[in-house]
Amino acid sequence: MAAQNKIWRQLTWTWKPASERDAGDAVVRNLLLHWFPAKVTIGSLSFRYSFWLGTISAVLFGILCITGVPLMFLYVPSVERAYQSVKDIEFVVSFGWFIRALHRLSAHLMVAVVFLHMVRVFFTGAYKNGTAANQARPVNWVIGVAMMLATFFLSFTGYLLPWDQLAYWAVTVGTNIASAAPLVGDKIRFLLLGGNQIEQNTLLRFYVLHCFFLPAFVLFLFLWHMWRVRKDGGLASVDKLSLEQKRQTLPPVKSKTYSLLGITKGRTVHVETALVNEDEHTVNSSPFLTRRILMVTLATVAVICLLALLVATPLEEAANPRVTPNPAKAPWYFLWLQELVTDTTVKLGDFTINGALIGGILVPGLLIALLAVWPWLDKSPVQAVGVWFAAQRRRQNLVFLGILVVVLALTVVGTFLRGPYWLFFWPWEAWPEMPGPF
């Protein structure tokens, strides 16, 4: 009975702590909450600071993992049966359409939300170290960039699985961009596809990547990401708070060293809190953080469920390598690249500069490389940490915003304004009649 009680207490916690000690115990003694701080600053709970985009990404990842399990039971990763099994999930399996819709919408939304999370972190300068000891926020930013790329790749590998025309040609276009990389491009594509064409090998490779390898990779990076957030003393807004406090020259502030849950003696393994007046600026994580996480989770689940009821999940004809739809488009989050590829294909007399190299490899490669090293190039002062649109970072924010606008504009053009033969059409213009496949 006592043992049961202990297990119960390690899995649940009080939402209504009666004392400070209760509140601390809820976090420290609990398996599910032990990675939370005992106290959080009020500022880092603010919706307007972070928009909770990271939490929403994590919730979406959770929904994807959970809905992915029944789908894995129902889906057959074989060229002969993949399409039929997805068709059955959509039309025959009880609630299959709902589970598939939840999975698909969460995936699309996760791509968007993870991207927005990155944008938020950039505009708030949250990848920068503050004044506390042992911070390594730039490392966490790089982990985040890796997670974003993994998210794109997760979505992309999932895109092929229905094995319909949409899936087949989107992946054809997407993987052909990879082959434009100099020297190794064709080899990369060959390895990715397990051959020269999208066939059984490709389907199985994408399936294993999608269901095991990439989720495990993202989960590992997620754990590292959260661990770093703790080691870096919480969100960047905490550093801003401690700076402001110093400027106010308040009476000396309690500085604490938590030894690792009291297990280790001495100061070898420790977490130093930023120098923040706890009484004034912090609240107990239980219930103030847990309650907000619950609300964000519920809201995300509710929105996804609602969307799943309202938005139909497409399933086109079965994949047919002999019939290319016109236009053939990559997944929406790669359409800015496809648009760039078209726009950068230049003919100089007999000589053609292949746009796939510029738009497909050089530009995105350069952007990702820049993203990864940016924290070390950003020399702005510590006052710009954790502040939206800090004056000291105006120039880089404007450049970032410019790139953002171009990427979004190219995405919009590629998604909505391109018709057959990748010709430009306004939304109100009708596309010309295309001859049928036969």
Partner: protein, 174 residues
């Protein structure tokens, strides 16, 4: 003082009620979702081979037992009568082999003396069955199953229904 306590008690109970409603809603949602996920794993359509199949016209079958490999069933013809005996051993499901006897042997089945020309022997654990499917040796707990045989009205083929076991005395007379 008393009214205050009552008020606070009322407030508490309202809050308590809302709290229970919230938890209840959450549980209902999780349960519903869980039901949907589990229900999705119960097949609505099966792509298995049909249990009712056409085996061919009666004149295609020679006298005696013919083994249909795909359906694991023996079609037994005795002049103008037909019946079907399952080839799945009732012990652990191995496929039994037919053994034709060189000399007819007289055996007692259920107190009745019958002349046997064939037996069914299981290669896995040595169970043995008489020609009519009655088990007489080895670990088999019961006789081989017999299935309904009928004539398809449209083309006169023998139609076997593996979903419909019949008694061992069942015979289709053509």
């Amino acid at each position: 003082m008393k009214s205050q306590t009552e008020a606070s008690a009322r407030g508490d109970s309202r809050r308590g009620w809302l709290h229970k409603l919230g938890i209840g809603g959450l549980l209902a949602g999780v349960t519903g979702m869980g039901y949907a996920f589990v229900r999705a794993l119960v097949p609505n359509v099966l792509y298995e081979a049909p249990q009712r199949f056409k085996a061919g016209t009666p004149d295609q079958f020679p006298e005696g037992a013919t083994f249909l490999e795909d359906q694991r069933v023996f079609i037994v013809r005795e002049q103008r009568t037909f019946h079907a005996i399952s080839a799945a051993c009732t012990h652990l499901g191995c496929t039994v082999k037919m053994v034709s006897l060189n000399q007819p042997k007289k055996v007692a089945i259920g107190g009745r003396e019958v002349e046997e020309t064939r037996e069914f022997h299981c290669p896995c654990h040595g169970s043995k069955y008489y020609g009519d499917g009655t088990n007489f040796a080895g670990p088999a707990p019961k006789p081989l199953a017999c299935y309904r045989v009928e004539l398809a009205p449209e083309d006169g083929q023998l139609m076997v229904n593996l979903d419909e076991p019949v008694s061992r005395g069942f015979r289709l007379t053509v």
